[in-house]
Subunit: 241 residues, 2 copies
C-alpha cells in the first residue's frame, strides 16, 4: 500500500494563517519536502518551522532562483523520484507550499509527475491575494464584480485591456516591473485606486498606496491591487498602514 | 478605549480549513456576530460551532435570502448599531465570515459602516476558489497565466469575452444560470475543460466534470472552473472524484 502525497498550503507567511488541517498534517508528518533556494532559507519551511517534527525526514528541493531556467525540469524529475521512493515504501509525504498549492504554485511540477501513480490530496491555503487585501484595508471584490489576476511580466497592452474590462484587479509578481506598471496605471488615471503590498503578513511586510512607492524595483512577493468597481471604497493614506 | 472589530474568514466549510488565527480569535471571543438566513441555520456559524465559547454573546444578523432585496441596507444599519454599542463598551467583536471576508463577502457591509470609527482587523481565509480547485484535482493557474473570476449572473456576451482573454477562469454563483452557462461553454468547445464543484469541502460536496452535470439548477455555493492555458492538465473522469 503506497503512501499519500499531500500538497499542503501554508498561507502567505504568518504561521498563524496556516489552516488547522495543514497544522495537523505537518506536525504528524514523518517525511516533509519543500522548495528551497540555492542560497539561504526555504520560505515554505520557515513558515512551518515550529510545526515540523524533530524526527521528520526532510527533502529540500533546491531550485535556483534564476527566472530564465524556471521550471527546472531536471530538479523536479529528481525530486519526484526521491518522493516516489518514499511513497512506495508506504510512507506519506507532506509537501510544504507557500500560499495555496494550486494557485501559481510550484507544487504543480510534482503533481504532474506523481498524481497518476499515487493518491494525492491538496490542502488549500490562504492566498497572497486575500492576504494583501486584508492589509490594504479595502475589500477585494463585491456583488457581481469581475476580478482579474494578471502576472506583472505581461506587456503593457495586454495589462491595459484586462484592466479596462474588470472591476477588481491584482497584478502579481511585480518585481522589476514596478516602474513600468506604475507609469501604466498613472496613464490610466488609476494610481489613486492602486494599493501596493509586499510580503503580506510577514514582519517585513510593506503596505503603501502605489503612488507613494518610491522604489525602482519590488521583490518577487509583491502585489498591486486595483479597485475600479461601483463601490466607493477609497484607500487609506499610506501613513495609516 | 473601544474594542476591535474582527472580520474573520472561516474558509469554505470544512472546520479544519479554518486558520489557526481564526481559531484563536473565535475561541476567545466574548461577542460573535454572523449572517443568518430567515429560516434555518447560519452557514458561517455552523463552520465555527465547535469553537465558539459557551459563554459568548451571539449577534445573528438575519438577512432574508431573496436576491432582489440584497443588500438589505436596513438590516446592516441595525447590525452595525448593535455591534458599535459593544465596541464602545471596550468589547471586541468577532464577525464570522464564510470564505474570506473581502472576497465577495457580506462583511464589507459592516466594514463600510464601522471601519472609520473603530479599529478593524480582517483575517483572511481560504476561498472557495482554491478549495474547488483542490477538489477537482487540477491546478488553477501557473506561470504567467491570467485568471479571471466571473459572477454567473453576467450576460453571455460579457462572459464569452472574458473567457476568450484569460487562461484560467472561475464562474461563481452558478445557481439557476447552470443550463445557460453549460450551453455557452459547449458552444465555445470548452465543455471538456470545465469542472463543476458545489459545496466544496463539506460532507454534501459534489464534484463532476461539467459535461456530466445533469441538473437544471445549482445551489448558490457552486462554481465552474475552466483551464485553457498551455499546460496539458486534463480533468479526471467524474467517477474518480
Amino acid at each position: 500500500m503506497s503512501g499519500v502525497l499531500y500538497g499542503v498550503g501554508l498561507g502567505p507567511g504568518d504561521p498563524e494563517l496556516m489552516t488547522l488541517k495543514a497544522h495537523r498534517l505537518i506536525s504528524s508528518a514523518r517525511v516533509v519536502a519543500y522548495p528551497a533556494p540555492d542560497t539561504g532559507e526555504s520560505f515554505a519551511r520557515s513558515i512551518a518551522t515550529d510545526v515540523i517534527s524533530k524526527d521528520a525526514r526532510e527533502i529540500p528541493m533546491v531550485v535556483p532562483m534564476r527566472v530564465d531556467r524556471f521550471p527546472a525540469k531536471q530538479i523536479y524529475d529528481e525530486a519526484a523520484k526521491t518522493i516516489a521512493a518514499e511513497l512506495e515504501t508506504g510512507e506519506d509525504v507532506v509537501v510544504l507550499c507557500e500560499g495555496d498549492p494550486f494557485f501559481y504554485g510550484s507544487f504543480m511540477y510534482l503533481f504532474e509527475r506523481l498524481s497518476e501513480r499515487f493518491t494525492c490530496e491538496v490542502i488549500p491555503g490562504v492566498t497572497s491575494l486575500t492576504a494583501c487585501a486584508s492589509r490594504l484595508q479595502r475589500p477585494l471584490t463585491s456583488r457581481n464584480d469581475v476580478m482579474t489576476i494578471i502576472p506583472g511580466p505581461l506587456p503593457d497592452e495586454a495589462i491595459r485591456a484586462h484592466i479596462d474590462s474588470a472591476q477588481a484587479l491584482a497584478i502579481m509578481k511585480v518585481g522589476r516591473h514596478l516602474p513600468r506598471l506604475k507609469a501604466l496605471l498613472q496613464d490610466m488615471n488609476l494610481l489613486d485606486r492602486a494599493g501596493y503590498v509586499e510580503r503580506a503578513s510577514l514582519p517585513s511586510q510593506k503596505v503603501l498606496r502605489l503612488e507613494d512607492v518610491a522604489d525602482d524595483a519590488a521583490p518577487y512577493f509583491s502585489m498591486i491591487l486595483i479597485y475600479k468597481g461601483d463601490e466607493a471604497w477609497t484607500l487609506p493614506p499610506s501613513s495609516s498602514f
